[in-house]
Symmetry: C2
Subunit: 432 residues, 2 copies
């Protein structure tokens, strides 16, 4: 038996990589003053139809539950956010800065970078209309990637303005019914031959190309870039009006994050959606809002591609997953003593492992290496002393059993976990 | 619109409580040398039927997917563990010490402590038959609860031996077909009047009661208790042969964890299941194994009930969720400077928030209190100096803008997050 197609088993290595990404996401969102929330993984199908139309059902993992409810595994988090924000409108002072790490699902043929499930970081600001919040959100997207070890040569945020295009279409007296179609053509224009796009745009081709080629002045986008420059983040971003984003509900600044090589799908994408909460709450609550999502699958592929990011991930995982101390039981009659002291070491915060059954000392040392232990402590003939061996440099010392916990508490090689991983330190900024 | 019945929304406070429990679980499992894994949330229905029989389907969230597969939201993790361990038998040196935090589902009427979804910590040792591994697993269950601030007055691990009862039934020449029924009667005996149990047990009543009343010597259980005593954990456990656990696949030591007041459902339960991996892998892989599960719902209720545990949770959440620094923009023309320096503070690991739009200084200080900021930094008339105000003690100091990051890096009140939460320190052990 195997996992279902498009679903992943997370063996210890893969789980550690997933947790590493989650930890970086959480830590960066926290630096930006975002707080975490989550919703149910299963929701009424109607909630998603309300946002995306009835045709969304073809892409959902939806079913009828035993209580005759139409339900679906969530394909995205925004409808749940709108539901919760509308229900608790009076409980929270605006603006909200909320993030969530949510597993999302779609029933689609799986392909590279696109499975049937993935974990998606969602960061949203609710109740704020100022452009400062657009800049804050884009800066967060950039810092999430910097925290993973990516630099300005590795990725770029392409920023556009949906409102700008709407104004453009309006100024050309284009009928509203054609907007969606035209925006899609513009969105695809980078991936299509110019002649083909020109044919589809007709009269609009010439002015559209002029804008795409950078001859359109846009004050809003200039201000976003300037504010990013103030933060030292402008090298990670560029204005690119060919970004429109397919989804109809965006109302202002939109952006997508791509790897510079252009090898992968978008790493993240989002923008302002000022009317969506009102729409999803049937007008009960109306709040400007903006947000983006970043998935773990493409990101994982990109980490493997960029040595600096990959090295950082491996170093953090190695430093955090290893056992601190391996207890070697050289004489089985010392097992009780070893267990007693092992418990005290664990109580003091150390990760401690030991063999369940008697084994040769050499074999126990092999296991100590295998679990990445920093120290081995040998319980044997030296009792009531124990031999403490630093496995990094081979140094060995005899320590009285009742002084062992204190000895290891002050030992430099057994620094705290936070120190080892540099959880508080800056990250990614050496490459900026 | 609301969440589906039996499903939870996690608003920031509830999400922080959930994450607090997860963090304690992870940190304790790590101290025991357990490594994390995870499986798919959706699995073939057959995987669960194989373990629990076809009747399990009545309790599942199962459906037919669009590819005509019979699938189910996982009700538990053990079948997935067996599937993965069997598939990767040669990739990992035994014994495995693996844990997972998995959301699990059941289609059941919701009631106190029992929703339609919950998160379940699973800890398993695979490939080890020695009694030392049973003790290790029980010690881990105890330390998971100690790490949450519970003491020996708050909970107890009731330990029993399934094998003992099988031997007993065998010695009385009871037909194998009746074992399951009789074990269920014994399992329920504590909750039923003796006369009723006696009537159902017939001839076996007298010797069964003698055993339940503590007159049955059991060498294995005595050794478990002795080993727990060696670790200083015996006050958290007791032998209780009335624990049998309903599930047929247990083969040795079994245990359940209850609150001392008897107010709640079991907090955790598990035991040895030496034949299950062979059964689930159709004999492809045969490995002794043992494990337990601990759910987040009952645990959350119990934390609220025990002041020491509740206080610890609140303290940790308050220390970790607050913003470090709130930037007060007293003059709008200083916004760019504030953003530039705010970015550098975030780069240095600080959680920094600020107002998106201009607001009165007094109002900005109110927001600083609301987000729990430790420091407010005022960008205003004093520029190029800024006023740094310690919000805990009201002390204020003018600092040159280019010295601010260094100033705050050495400020005692802004200790690192790890220090604030005592992530590395011992926990719960003051009450043991």
């Amino acid at each position: 038996m195997q996992a279902l197609p498009g679903f992943r088993d997370f063996l210890p290595r893969e789980c550690a990589e997933r947790n590493y990404i989650f930890a970086r996401w959480r830590e960066t969102a926290r630096r930006y003053g975002f707080v975490e929330w989550d919703g149910p993984i299963l929701e009424p199908t109607e909630l998603f139809q309300k946002k995306s139309g009835p045709e969304i059902v073809t892409q959902l993992f939806n079913f009828t539950d035993k209580g005759e409810r139409e339900v679906a595994l969530r394909p995205e988090l925004t409808p749940t956010l709108a539901r919760i924000v509308a229900a608790h409108d009076r409980d929270f002072k605006k603006p909200l800065k909320w993030f969530s790490i949510a597993q999302c699902f779609r029933y689609e043929k799986q392909q590279r970078g696109r499975l049937r499930e993935h974990f998606q970081l969602n960061c949203d600001i609710v109740g704020e209309g100022s452009l400062n919040s657009d800049v804050e959100l884009i800066a967060l997207a950039i810092d999430l990637l910097r925290a993973l070890g990516f630099g300005a040569d590795d990725f770029v945020v392409r920023i556009s303005d949906r409102e700008f295009w709407i104004d453009f279409l309006r100024s050309r007296d284009v009928a509203k019914e054609r907007w969606s179609e035209l925006l899609q053509i513009i969105d695809k224009s980078e991936r299509e031959p110019r002649a083909k796009t020109a044919a589809r745009l007709g009269d609009l081709a010439e002015p559209t190309f002029a804008i795409l080629d950078g001859h359109g002045a846009n004050e809003k986008l200039s201000r976003v870039m300037e504010d990013l420059r103030e933060r030292g983040l402008d090298t990670f971003a560029k204005v690119d009006l060919s970004i429109v984003r397919g989804l109809a509900y965006y109302t202002g600044i939109v952006f997508e994050v791509f790897d510079r090589s252009g090898k992968f799908r978008a790493v993240a994408g989002g923008g302002r959606y000022d009317n969506l909460i009102a729409q999803l709450s049937d007008g009960a609550v109306s709040l400007p809002a903006l947000g983006f999502a970043m998935g773990d699958v493409v990101l994982g592929d990109l980490i493997q591609e960029i040595p600096a990011a990959d090295d950082q991930m491996r170093n953090v995982i190695d430093a955090t997953s290893a056992v601190d101390i391996y207890i070697v039981i050289a004489k089985e009659e010392r097992r009780d003593d070893a267990m007693r002291i092992g418990q005290r070491l664990r109580d003091s915060g150390r990760a401690v492992d030991y063999p369940f059954a008697g084994a040769k000392v050499g074999k126990q040392f092999q296991t100590a290496e295998l679990v990445g232990a920093r120290f081995a402590i040998v319980f044997g003939d030296e009792w009531p002393q124990v031999a403490v061996k630093n496995l990094a440099n081979g140094e060995q010392q005899l320590v009285a059993q009742d002084e062992l916990v204190a000895y290891l508490a002050t030992s430099g090689s057994l620094s705290s976990r936070a120190e080892r991983t540099g959880v508080e330190g800056p990250r990614g900024d050496t490459r900026t």
